[in-house]
Symmetry: none
Subunit: 188 residues, 4 copies
């Protein structure tokens, strides 16, 4: 009802981009799935590339907001870190397309150059929390960017592994263990 054509186009495009990749998705398919005319896409976006970029902003924003919200609930650095990792798992379940798209875009070359980041990225939320924890003495001192790479890389790959691999361990246990693993990385 409240969904405008613009939203329909975004939804359809995100679906397809995640399903088959950005360049393999044609504007015709996008329009078809959105229930609109091909040319209409150009009324709302400068082109397919711009649409893909826009979606990245939207998805990264959603992800970042989820992380921030999770972190806001906790005062203590350790609890914050746990909340962030848990939030990554939760987001990958609640908004799987956005999560998958963010990963994908990381490896996509846009026609008009690399993605600019005019806005802070999800990983920055991690970096801030880690830095705060180090300053407060809750975590051991390491390059916060390095620790972020560790935790984000570890968690990201574990999520992919959960979704696609043959997993023996139940999901909830994987999450708890991965949170524990994050602590091992930064504790003194």
């Amino acid at each position: 009802m409240a969904t405008t054509k613009r939203d329909d186009i975004c939804d359809a495009a995100l679906d397809l981009f995640v399903e088959k990749g950005i360049s393999a998705s044609t504007t015709r398919e996008i329009a078809e799935r959105a229930g609109t005319a091909e040319g209409n896409l150009y009324r709302h976006f400068a082109g397919k590339d711009a649409l893909a970029r826009h979606l990245f902003g939207v998805c990264a924003g959603r992800f970042r907001r989820a992380l921030i919200e999770a972190a806001h609930g906790e005062e203590e650095p350790g609890a914050r870190l746990a909340a962030l990792v848990r939030s990554m798992f939760r987001f990958s379940r609640e908004d799987p397309k956005a999560f998958a798209y963010i990963l994908q875009v990381h490896h996509h070359e846009f026609a008009t150059g690399p993605v600019r980041n005019p806005q802070p990225l999800p990983k920055d939320v991690f970096a801030e929390t880690l830095q705060a924890g180090m300053e407060s003495g809750a975590f051991r001192p390491i390059d916060p960017a390095l620790a972020t790479s560790w935790i984000v890389g570890m968690t990201q790959r574990t999520i992919t592994f959960l979704e696609t691999g043959r997993v023996e361990t139940p999901r909830d246990q994987v999450i708890e263990e991965t949170i524990g693993a994050s602590f091992r990385l930064v504790q003194k």
Copy 2:
């Protein structure tokens, strides 16, 4: 024993695929850079897609062999794990295109369906080493596939961070710290 045209095509394709992505690389460019005629590509491979798949096999094989070779030098599980992580960093420097391509393919949708793995993958070498370490009591008991995800994900992202990010910490120190981090994940 000059390089054959087939090898030239593989080299040119790997170059381009890493540089601009698979779908953004045209067969014409590949042929041009390989110094051969476009049609010749189709004598050696069924098409661009088949070429891209073939290259994945080649690169994954090179990576896996590097890991195996590194592991063979060490008897003790801890030393083996260290050797494997160190080997990932080394491989990403010695064969950066193969490394980059493997990462990229992870997020590429092939036209003809997902990549089959008729051959064992690099990560399997990690899993074997971790399993052995757990059985010998050197590492704490966890799902080896999960631990593999952790260490590979962490290391991979750290390498990317090293190559592209603004890094404060010197490379050698990053490597040693990441090896240490791997231990933290699996030690008792």
Copy 3:
């Protein structure tokens, strides 16, 4: 009510297919002659093959309708048969491209398998008339499909002979004699 591009494409394709054969006609030529862009062909048809099949349906339909119309004018089986044979000659003159194309397609191997006949074919009109004539006792009893083969094969080849061969006998006389020949085949 100008002719649409789709019709232009059909016309151009039929022209070329008859002139130089299906596989010798390129999509570029077709588009050029139709005064449109090559890619536009693919908006209206799945490809060259589909276009060629479509044209067969159209031409066979035109031919069949001409035969039915001719038969409808006559009550008596003998008169109907005469009308049908005469109509074949007439159609080959009035719509020579359609006629030539139907013959050609008979010997063309489509890429996607043999031509399906979702619709009744021209020869069926012959078979019905012959069957009716046999049941009413006007013609001798023979397998109607066999008699159809005789008359259609004879007439078809005679038309080709008229158009391409060195003919001594004038066209009108050939037609009358061929009608007579048809009677000889089926009369008691």
Copy 4:
């Protein structure tokens, strides 16, 4: 044993041309099926087109010889005509590829212009017999070329009908009836 590479190429090409049409058959396929190298085709023929023309000559010659041989056995015009029609049916069974190829070539446009006929064609054997029969008074007087068209067209289509259609009448009876039909066309 006695088959030379040249013969192998001819056999393979005839197979393929009949199976999928001339232009749909590639030189590579021909060479493959002949068990030889692609380039070797050019040692024996000027090209694919020349090979296809050569095969037409060979096949038409075989057909013509079969007809002549059949006719030679009979003195009387009626018996000759019967022998010729019977011979067409027989040839289509004994050498089905040659027969099918002759029909196909009729509708094929060669790259280098229409097929020349430096040698007499099969239909000429019919024309001679019919002419002789008319001169001797055994047949009614008609343009021999026209009568040839009738009989050849009728027989040819009946053969195709026998091979591809749903036939109720048994083959032998079809042959006898078609011979009878030929007589009806030319008898007084």
